[in-house]
């Protein structure tokens, strides 16, 4: 073999190949893993030792009676081998003379639909498998919808196991027409249907004689030529800043991966949020400066002017800037077991920016079978909804259909740190850009100074009957006696007015506390010492209330009374009713109480009287300087 020449030819050919990232999805047992195994096997990408272990495994675990079971190539983890289903996303690599491929093998099982969204978010094409014997199923519709929701424009409908239906054209035509009926409402640019048998390699690599009535391409020939070019380099320039590069005082660069468009030295840029502009001076790399960089490149830019830029900012084309707003509407796919709570604060990560955010209004959820909208108060695992979001700070973003990187975001639970949702921005809510904060001249400090006190929220939390209201009432009386201006917000009283429209579901409890937190904030702003007495069972909402006011303006008071004691006291007879099932969602009975981990004050009510507890709180306030 003439090595150098062959090598050069090989390398040259490698460079010319384009990359196609696609995902496969379908129901349990439709044969996804078998199909991928078949593609790897037939494109000769398997090594000899892998083959040997495959033959060995086929005899041991195989479901094909001793023949090579291609699914075993891709079903890696022990658990799924035992259960016979794929439980995660697996990435596989293969190549032909024309193209390189990365396949995301995604799960069919409903509970792992979130993993399919993961695979889809980084793919340009979806191969949707259908078992010819079963036809279009709920899962098929769900997968087609999620693919479309995540911006995939090209689908292949692989009608598998056609061998088991005697290679019948009628069966194939019926499946395809069923699918088209549904997919007509989805936004696909191309849809190609292919009759296949993954197990026997029918129409996978080459067209088979078994289906003479089928005139289209084989799966592989189609994948080799399908044009999925999204031309991201032709969109508006976007560079989300990841890291400010400052090796010494003379160099200040901004590092990030270009999310859209292209950039050259000499071109103007605008910092989306601040509106400041400058000009690119250099595109710096270890291999020397570049004359141009395009979408997908990881670069470091330097600018002509000293502009204040930090991580989370988006450098953009001044002629086509992203929207800057703290409110938008987006599609949301829920990915956690615990349901979505509108009003609860989550962390929203979009590009390189992370901000606290909440769902301010859930418009509807979407039935993935019919694509119809239904009213909803919450979203469960794998459900898709359309919602308004409200952020703690404005962000720069684009619509998801214009740019996946600057229009897609994840939601993170603030306590478990789990990724609980994935969102795709539809449009900005104009309200945010038109309603500005009205600056006033007499401020919180001025109002508090007049009263000779420091404003603060004393947030009492604890079970029903723990003694919150009793102690808060005593504290207020003591403070009033000293001429301090106070206000007590009591749980039961507030529910007669401000929160009359709310019930006791988790979602309503969150909204209840949000409103009380906002009311407490206004009173603090007015210079008052605010006492609140609410069960407030969730850590997230107590934290939200804390963050509404300034540092040192929130004291969490945990009224720590064991539930047995509360039940014995039962001042309003509520535990009795809850145990009898007459009250639903009662904290401590059939609704959880999350005890504070770092309360400012802990009151053990079984150890001393309410009067003594109240006195200790007043003393604490005096010692800490709240009483002037």
């Amino acid at each position: 073999m003439n090595a150098p020449t062959d090598l050069q030819k090989f390398l040259a050919a490698q460079e010319k190949k384009s990359l196609l990232r696609f995902l496969t999805c379908g129901s349990v047992d439709d044969g996804k893993s078998t199909l991928i195994g078949r593609l790897l096997y037939d494109t000769k990408l398997l090594f000899e030792d892998t083959l040997a272990s495959l033959e060995k495994d086929s005899k041991k675990f195989g479901t094909t009676g001793g023949d090579i079971d291609f699914a075993l190539l891709v079903d890696g983890l022990e658990a799924e081998r035992e259960q016979g289903i794929t439980i995660d996303v697996a990435y596989r690599f293969f190549a032909t003379d024309k193209r390189k491929f990365i396949v995301a093998d995604t799960p069919g099982h409903e509970q792992y639909t979130r993993n399919m969204a993961t695979g889809a978010s980084n793919s340009d094409l979806a191969v949707i498998l259908i078992d010819a014997r079963k036809g279009v199923l709920t899962q098929t519709r769900r997968h087609a919808y999620i693919a479309s929701l995540l911006g995939i424009r090209h689908v292949v409908l692989a009608v598998n196991k056609i061998d088991l239906m005697d290679y019948s054209q009628a069966v194939f035509d019926r499946v395809v027409s069923d699918f088209h009926q549904f997919s007509a409402r989805l936004n696909f640019a191309s849809q190609v249907a292919i009759p296949l048998s993954a197990r026997f390699g029918i129409n996978v690599i080459e067209k088979s004689k078994e289906t003479p009535w089928y005139t289209g391409p084989s799966l592989l020939s189609h994948l080799e030529v399908v044009d999925v070019d999204t031309a991201l380099a032709d969109t508006a320039f976007r560079l989300p800043v990841q890291w400010v590069n400052r090796p010494d005082l003379d160099f200040r660069g901004f590092s990030g991966t270009i999310a859209g468009g292209r950039i050259k030295p000499g071109q103007p840029i605008a910092v989306a949020k601040s509106g400041r502009t400058s000009t690119v001076t250099r595109i710096v790399t270890m291999d020397g400066d570049k004359a141009e960089a395009v979408a997908g490149d990881a670069i470091t830019l330097t600018l002509a002017d000293e502009v204040d830029i930090s991580r989370g900012d988006v450098l953009s084309d001044p002629q086509a800037r992203p929207v800057v707003s703290d409110q938008f509407a987006a599609h949301l796919l829920w990915m956690a077991d615990e349901e979505l709570l509108p009003g609860r604060q989550y962390l929203l990560k979009l590009g390189t920016a992370t901000v606290p955010a909440q769902v301010s209004g859930l418009k509807h959820k979407i039935d993935v079978n019919t694509l119809d909208s239904h009213a909803a108060r919450t979203l469960a695992l794998n459900e898709v909804g359309y919602a308004n979001f409200s952020l703690a700070q404005p962000l720069a973003f684009d619509a998801y259909r214009d740019n996946r990187d600057t229009g897609g975001f994840i939601l993170i639970d603030r306590f478990t740190n789990a990724t609980v949702g994935a969102g795709m921005i539809d449009f900005s809510l104009m309200r945010a850009t038109n309603v500005h904060w009205q600056a006033v001249d007499v401020d919180k400090q001025a109002r508090a100074a007049m009263k000779g006190q420091k404003p603060v929220v004393l947030w009492f939390t604890g079970l029903s009957g723990s003694g919150k209201s009793t102690i808060a009432n005593l504290v207020e009386k003591a403070l009033a006696g000293q001429g301090k201006h106070t206000y007590l917000l009591d749980g039961d009283n507030v529910r007669h007015g401000l929160n009359r429209d709310l019930g006791f579901t988790d979602a309503d409890r969150v909204e209840n506390i949000r409103r009380v937190g906002e009311a407490a904030r206004l009173f603090v702003d007015a210079g008052l010492i605010v006492l609140t007495a609410f069960i407030s069972p969730f850590r997230s909402e107590r934290r939200m209330a804390r963050e509404l006011v300034g540092e040192g303006e929130f004291l969490e008071v945990f009224v720590d009374t064991p539930i047995e004691v509360c039940m014995r006291r039962d001042p309003k007879g509520l535990y009795e009713k809850a145990k009898a099932g007459k009250i639903k969602n009662f904290t401590g009975i059939d609704s959880p109480y999350e005890a504070p981990e770092q309360a400012d004050l802990i009151l053990k009510t079984v150890e001393s009287s309410p009067e003594a507890q109240a006195e200790s709180i007043v003393k604490y306030l005096r010692d800490k300087g709240y009483l002037g």
Binding site: I87, M286, A418
Partner: protein, 286 residues
Amino acid sequence: MHIMREVASEFANPVMLYSVGKDSAVMLHLAMKAFYPSKPPFPLMHVNTTWKFQEMIKFRDETVRRLGLNFIEYINEDGVKRGINPFDSGSSLHTQVMKTEALKQALDKYGFDAAFGGARRDEEKSRAKERIFSFRDRHHGWDPKNQRPELWRVYNTRINKGESIRVFPLSIWTELDIWQYILAENIPIVPLYFAKKRPVVERAGTLIMRDDERMKLLPGEKVEEKLVRFRTLGCYPLTGAIESDADTLEGIVTEMFTARTSERQGRLIDTDEKASMEKKKKEGYF
């Protein structure tokens, strides 16, 4: 590079695990690029089992000096005291104590909250399902069912105290990609990857290089000089050589595109037990 910058920005105390092999060489090269003209804002750490090839250690020290990096070497001294070694203790105990345990000790000792590793999804079945950001609990355990979804290029890097994340920036690279990149960027690698006459012993069908006197010969075994190279590097008694005359990068890539044997075959630890890699990962191995 995007991934490395995310980690450097969002974690308090990241570290790059450097195994001296070709994947580590590529990973380090990318880190040098990602932060240029700055140096990577995290240290490099090598978990040394004390059974690495001498040439690896020499190469490692040269690399650290050449690039001017902050470097940490960690050895499980307790394991050394107990006399753990791949010949008498068996490969799985040796790997468990000197690699897996050592890694956990090192991460705990320095309080690292994120660690880069050079693993690739094409290496082995259970690795195909690994995330780029792989979440580990307080005990460094990996739960394949409880991994975070990774959408777009948005990575959830939030952890509680004591938890950590392993980061695999080369996740979507294949072995061939690695070699092509080394060739295109002219990245220095350990000379053991190139064919040379080396003293080897054939044991259980695998060619083992006798790197020092600690390797005792069994009856009937003899040391032969053979023209060999390594496709993967680890502890010398556990790393099989292949007979080859590829003594240049071009030669290696040529050999690669005609190869029919996957690289982990040279690693004796994988065949020890069924699904052994997955088991090791649950225990905290990379």
